[in-house]
């Protein structure tokens, strides 16, 4: 058996175990609900055109032409009663000549607009993003990257500790190279994380299309498209380090403490992007720092602040950083996997000679 078939077996086991895992299922469902909720729900709640009760047939035609849901009633009193009973959102009465709009507690914008002639509006910056969206989109990217990266990163670490704590790792290492173990785990974790965010992306896009938010979609679509490769590289960049912190811990109980630096590496960019998303110089900087780029660059693309070549450059920087960090992570993983007595520090594991002697022995 060669290394690649060993990797396949290892990755297949990890996938099988994780797909049955409750954390994975719950987080996937939760994200999907959020994606559905944030796209479909506002349309349902803000819910379509107002219903209007009206007696005057000329007004009824005007209102109907404006796309409102019109109920024709016998007289103004019946129209008012319909509003009081909650059968209509508004009523239009013409008792005194000029039409008046009746409503319970909220002036129905669309009814008023239908009856008035608006002045011509010329937008000077027609592409400017709705301020509400401008707030939610960075938050959305940041939270998806943060949670997915943290969840799947921690799962890689946990899977390593489990093998170390149960000592099954000795049986594994006696038959397959440690490199195969590491790659198998990272591939499985990466695949699941990617599947999860791809699913979220698809649901979000479908949700926007379904609710006729075509304008929003054309704004956010390219950012989502870029987010996927950024996410993938960003996740793989940290995956080997997650495996390394797993190997540094001797027991699952140690993992929380040992993995704290990694959690910060994921958490700090999250808060920076969420709180500083309207600070352009800071966001530009963040979009080139490999740890925050997966979130910051798609946000800048969304707000239209990034030129077309920028995501490519940023992705290039990330790929280089990923190569370095994967190398460090793999070395620390090898150096600490078989150390079971006492606490192993990151530095000691990095300098470990035993693993290299073993590798020589088996080559």
């Amino acid at each position: 058996m060669n290394t690649s078939s060993a990797i396949r077996l290892i990755a297949a086991r990890e996938l099988k175990v994780k797909i049955k895992d409750k954390t994975f299922l719950i987080s996937t469902i939760l994200f999907l609900l959020i994606a559905v909720g944030s796209t479909v729900l506002p349309a349902m709640l803000g819910g379509g055109a107002s219903s209007v009760a009206v007696a005057d047939s000329a007004s009824a035609t005007t209102l109907r032409d404006a796309g409102l849901e019109v109920t024709q009633v016998s007289d103004d009193a019946a129209a008012e009663q319909a509003v009081r009973d909650g059968d209509a959102d508004a009523a239009v009465v013409t008792g005194g000549g000029e039409p008046r709009v009746l409503a319970m507690d909220d002036a129905p914008r669309d009814v008023i607009d239908a009856l008035s002639s608006a002045p011509t509006v010329q937008l000077l910056n027609p592409d400017a993003v709705d301020p509400l969206l401008a707030y939610f989109v960075p938050f959305g990217f940041a939270i998806v990257f943060f949670f997915t990266s943290l969840t799947f990163g921690l799962q890689i670490a946990q899977s390593v500790v489990e093998e170390k704590q149960t000592r099954i790792v000795e049986i594994l290492v006696a038959s397959v190279p440690t490199r195969a173990l590491l790659i198998g785990k990272v591939l499985a974790g990466g695949l699941l994380a990617l599947a999860q965010i791809a699913l979220i992306a698809v649901v979000t896009v479908a949700g926007l299309q379904l609710t006729d938010n075509g304008a929003v979609l054309s704004l956010i679509g390219p950012s989502i498209g870029w987010f996927v490769p950024f996410f993938l590289v960003g996740f793989l960049m940290l995956a080997a380090l997650w495996a390394a912190v797993g190997a540094l811990a001797n027991r699952l109980e140690d993992l929380q403490g040992v993995s704290m630096p990694m959690q910060l590496v994921v958490m700090i960019p999250f808060f920076l992007v969420v709180f500083l998303s309207d600070n352009k110089p800071v966001m530009t900087l963040l979009s080139y720092i490999p740890f925050s780029a997966p979130t910051a660059m798609p946000v800048r693309l969304f707000t239209g602040d990034a030129a077309g070549w920028e995501p490519l450059l940023s992705l290039g920087v990330m790929v280089i950083a990923a190569a370095i960090l994967i190398g460090i992570g793999a070395r620390v993983y090898d150096g600490s996997l078989l150390r079971t007595n006492g606490k192993t520090t990151f530095g000691a594991a990095f300098r470990d000679k035993e693993s290299r002697r073993l590798a020589d022995l088996n080559s």
Partner: protein, 297 residues
């Protein structure tokens, strides 16, 4: 070339502490080799070096005359000292997984798993997660994990610890069946009575150095002093005055004594018969525990 696993002058230190010194011994095909020594004598370290989980500072391990490769080791079965399988995976799933990792096809591994589960009386628990099994059954599953890929060599660190006598017999029969197929088996144990009953060859390690190695019988012979036990009708105290006799133990009518080279045991027997009835007389073979105490001293 006979199938021999050979350790040649293995040295290993942890920091300043040398835990193995020129460790050299053989594990021969078709024989059970018992590996005995006190805690910390170097048994586990030696086994980890055989399996490539630890590197020696110097020396090498060979199999059929060639230096061990990972391909060879993949055909080894190993039971580590500290036990563990995936707690949440079912017994069957993890045996299949480990068998596949050791290079078996799906068909071969399924066949082996069925056989092993039946042999180790684990069939009913096959689809339970390991964490739900009793400790004894977990231990059986661990043994199955070492055997699932029909290994060419078996290295078992304390395979009998934590097993009840029935389970010991089950495991022994499984291991015997492997040695009959020509597999060399190396196992360590604290339970000297079990080792004595089971092993064909014996390796005794103390303080990181091999103190004795060879077949159980030859070790017995070489460590057997000319020791005899005599039971007479009356008091046996007179034996101490016989020429060449060194009294080891005296308990009323029963005497255990060593005879000097050249002294004749039949002379002592005749002297006993002259004094009255003799209930029994014969040589005493040393137990493994006695040899071990003698050697490891």
């Amino acid at each position: 070339m006979t199938k021999v696993l050979h350790l040649e002058a293995i040295n290993r230190s942890f920091g300043d502490r040398q835990v193995l010194r020129d460790v050299t011994f053989d594990v021969t095909a078709g024989r059970m080799t018992g590996f005995v020594g006190a805690n910390g004598a170097g048994k586990t370290t030696s086994m980890r070096i055989i399996l490539g989980v630890l590197a020696p500072d110097s020396g090498e391990v060979t199999w059929q005359g060639n230096r061990l490769t990972r391909e060879d080791r993949r055909r080894f079965g190993y039971m580590p000292e500290e036990r563990g399988l995936y707690p949440k995976m079912t017994v069957r799933d993890q045996l299949v997984y480990l068998g596949r990792l050791h290079g078996l096809t799906v068909q071969a591994v399924n066949r082996n798993v069925d056989d092993l589960l039946e042999w180790l009386s684990l069939g009913e628990r096959a689809n339970d997660p390991v964490e739900n099994l009793s400790l004894g059954n977990q231990q059986r599953a661990q043994i199955a994990a070492a055997l699932v890929h029909d290994p060419d060599v078996l290295v078992l660190d304390e395979p009998f610890s934590g097993l009840d006598p029935m389970a010991v017999d089950t495991v022994v029969s499984v291991l015997r069946e492997r040695t009959h197929r020509g597999v060399p088996v190396l196992f360590s144990s604290h339970q000297l009575d079990v080792v004595e009953r089971l092993c064909d060859d014996l390796v005794i390690i103390a303080g990181g150095a091999i103190k004795a190695a060879g077949s159980k019988d030859s070790l017995r012979d070489s460590y057997a002093q000319r020791r005899f036990a005599l039971v007479v009708a009356g008091d046996a105290g007179w034996v101490r005055d016989q020429p060449g006799v060194t009294l080891v133990d005296l308990d009323g009518p029963r005497a255990v004594f060593d005879l000097a080279d050249g002294a004749d045991d039949q002379v002592v027997l005749r002297a006993a018969l002259e004094r009255g009835a003799v209930r029994s007389f014969g040589p005493v073979t040393p137990s493994l525990a006695e040899i071990f105490r003698e050697v490891a001293r």
